[in-house]
Symmetry: D2
Subunit: 297 residues, 4 copies
């Protein structure tokens, strides 16, 4: 198939190559012209604008958007007047499922199908076999399924149902991921505080071979410790990019008790602080009622 | 009544005065002779040793121990050979209720009654009206009730039942206290992170007058902010002295879900760290799978 | 002062009487005509419509809205064409502070001042002395301060600053309240699971006299146990009316770690369920890897 | 090697076969004689008592204990007089690491080496390739390493260091496992509460192929949903067998903030209750201050 690929960042570049490995042709666009040249050197057709990209596709056009979720709307605004009834837009970034549903409805007015695709597996997955969760109209899905099948790992894609379900699944996936990562981190922190003398790389390796918690994240834990045996070189600042927060907000809306996912998120926020106002208040109160000493700033 | 008071620290000194205010006579002992002199200057009889203290009491002797829980056993070891059947030992520090039950059983072998007393209200309470939770034998309680009635605030004492129940109640009281303090702290942290410009002392005052959360701890919050409007001068390091941990351990033993008390404790531990191994692991993992930058140490 | 009072539910009726006790005159309206008659019997002027209510006020008109937050907008829609430059609207229900800011901006277009007022203290407070947290323009506040001063308990009102700050403070107040209540509940649950035999009413009383956790909520705990010694008659279903959820959502937006408030909310949601899907999944997994028996439905 | 295997339950039987598959000879004992016969039919030598078992081993004897942790001490009491200097005891059940250290010290008095071995991977692992974490003396380890190497999966064993480190690692492993399981459960609960219509087996499959959270537990999740699509047949009661609790207790002793592991445990306890006293107290309080209706029992 011929796919118009908008967005050639870390994920887009890898996906483009993956598509071409499987004999799909790619028309590539990015505001960063160097990235376009890079894709051209690997066999893609380049485009200098979204308009040119669309003009190089055949009906029904398939446009795959792989951009930060904050710029999806501006890409869609450009696309809308250029697309025709029957065209299919695939948005495979990390958008909020509610926004995806809104975009689906907007595009539907133009007769354009809109698929929301959660993509997991990181850069390596995008290159060699990703994991896709797809929401949107079944008819559009039936047309594009082959490109997902080809670029996913075996059994690594799911048409999950109506619009929004793809990004919803990916959001929750990331919520679970937060929980896994926090559990692994806490486990190693207990090891680290103990008076045993563990070799963390070896611990991650044994936990990854035959144990109940063997997992890709444990493999990555092993890799990380292989590079820096005690993680001395990095700070424990846990950034987050939104999906964990969305999961917790959604859980609140659905009145669902998700303490593990919620705490994994709150501890990320805690890690952004050197000191907390909560701590100051509690320390001050202990001083007030019990005369307990406070540590002065 | 005549009371032998062992332990003249912050709590003991105040309690001794409180007892004498209510026409009880006090025989006071502490390893710190200056404290004994201080009590003498306020009207107490002094003792140079536990032996002397015991010799100055009348049968049935009433010995009130107000020492750190780590030294209770050594005090009891000294007392055991000196006391007789019918004497009453009151241990009013922050001991673990299980230890109190063991001590009760030990003293029972000598025919000595042992009351475990949880004391709340801080130094000011000890001086002017404390809050007591008492466990042990009813017969011993009936004898000493007057001294509790006199030194407590109105309705501020409770004979809670069999041995251990006093310190158990106090332990759980402190667990609840941890939760209150954390909730107050978190509330003010949300205020502090907002883009409103609150005067925290005034907020504590209004929350303390007519609101649902009016409480002594909110009064103390107001006082703390009155001294240091934004708590700029103190660090948010939240020490703990044991009862909160015991409450959580007890909850685990009883298979009781106490997430609020547990988290108020865990966040205290978190506040003791500048950085965490959990954070390092999570940051390293995010780098491994997503290429997210880590902050270097 | 003359106040137009819209909304004569549990809170409005009590507030109306409170206003009249302090020599303010009240024009009262509610869709429920019986409630209007009730207020009239207590000395208020009645109104058969919002239009009539407005017509009975003097410039600058003071309209106090005390309705569920879901109907505030429809009340404002009716009010807008009826009010004039300089009039003051007081909204003293439990609205989200962001909505209050939007309403403030809408009313400002008409030259009408809009004060967002968080009200605490329950029905009894509304009747005899409430607690108010007020946001909005200082000039409007200066005009109406006397009616707040008169109907609040001493020190029980605070002009907190710009629009939204009143409801923000009240929201966070309720978040803290969730934490207090959960901490109290957890404490009593530990008592209840222990093998001691506590009299909960007496425990609440002693904890409320001289202890660190003495508070209005502990007074209410005592009252509740006085009515039903072991709370045998009620189910532990913890409903919630929104402010706790808003507090957590706001904390997430501000990247603030509020585990205690968050967990007190999540456990309320958990209490709405007889069984959970989380539990089913975990039980099924234990069966898969360890052969642990599951309980059949 | 020749191994005396005490304990022929689910784990022991599988391990015995695994040992024999790798040309080790097994002398088997269990109080359940049918299990001994079973092992004999598979090629093991049987023993009618621990004494007989020991008598059939060659010096240095290797005794592998695979019994519930509550009966380890009674097995050791029988073994002590029968073993000689240089013999090696392997205890591969789920004992608390502190007990293992005590047992190590006890056995050391007899000159017997004691290895504490955490075993993961479930019954299937025991049969075809387990995961072992081993603590104890290096010299003893060097002797028995071959039998661990043969019965583990590749890279599935680790000599972790001094006595206790094996069971410590296994304990923390299980703590992490609790976190993983809770995160998976919470994720599916969010899916289940949403208004999408997910096929959970397919979701587990796609999350297990190429995604960041691919893991053995996700494989088991897929299997569980394959058997019962919505887990309608089982109750969400989450039992626990101790290691998660030990992990949290250890974290408390080490002053380590492990909120995710702690909450995964507390929610297991919550799942054992139909109703909670916490809930009753909170519901009663809401009724007291706000007149909110309670649900009657």
């Amino acid at each position: 198939m011929k796919v118009g690929l908008i967005g050639l960042g870390k994920m887009g570049l890898n996906l483009g190559q993956n598509l071409m490995d499987h004999n799909h042709s790619v028309v590539a666009f990015d505001l960063n012209t160097a990235a376009v040249e890079d894709m051209k050197s690997k066999g893609a057709e380049g485009a200098a604008s979204i308009k040119e990209l669309v003009s190089k596709l055949e009906t029904p056009r398939i446009v795959w958007i792989m951009v930060p979720h904050s710029v999806v709307d501006s890409v869609l605004d450009e696309l809308k007047p250029l697309l025709s009834k029957g065209d299919i837009v695939i948005e495979a970034g990390n958008s909020h499922y509610k926004e995806s549903i809104e975009r689906y409805n907007q595009m539907k007015e133009f007769g354009v199908s809109y698929l929301d695709v959660g993509t997991s597996g990181g850069m390596e997955g995008a290159r060699n076999g990703a994991c896709y969760m797809v929401g949107g109209d079944q008819e559009a899905w039936d047309i594009v399924e082959p490109i997902f099948k080809d670029t996913a790992v075996e059994n690594g894609y799911l048409y999950a149902g109506k619009s929004g379900s793809g990004h919803f699944l990916k959001m929750v996936h990331n919520g679970v991921e937060y929980g896994f990562m926090a559990a692994i981190g806490e486990g190693f922190e207990v090891l680290e505080k103990s008076d045993f003398d563990f070799d963390y790389e070896k611990v991650a390796r044994v936990w990854n071979n035959g144990s109940v918690i063997r997992s890709w994240l444990m493999e990555l834990t092993e890799k990380a410790f292989a590079k820096d045996a005690n993680l001395d070189e990095i700070k424990g600042i846990m950034q987050s990019s939104g999906e964990g927060k969305w999961t917790v907000e959604t859980a609140l809306d659905l009145q669902t008790a998700t303490p593990v996912i919620a705490l994994s998120l709150l501890m990320r926020y805690r890690s952004l602080e050197n000191d907390t106002f909560t701590g100051k208040v509690v320390a001050a109160l202990r001083n007030e009622f019990g005369g307990h000493a406070v540590v002065k700033n």
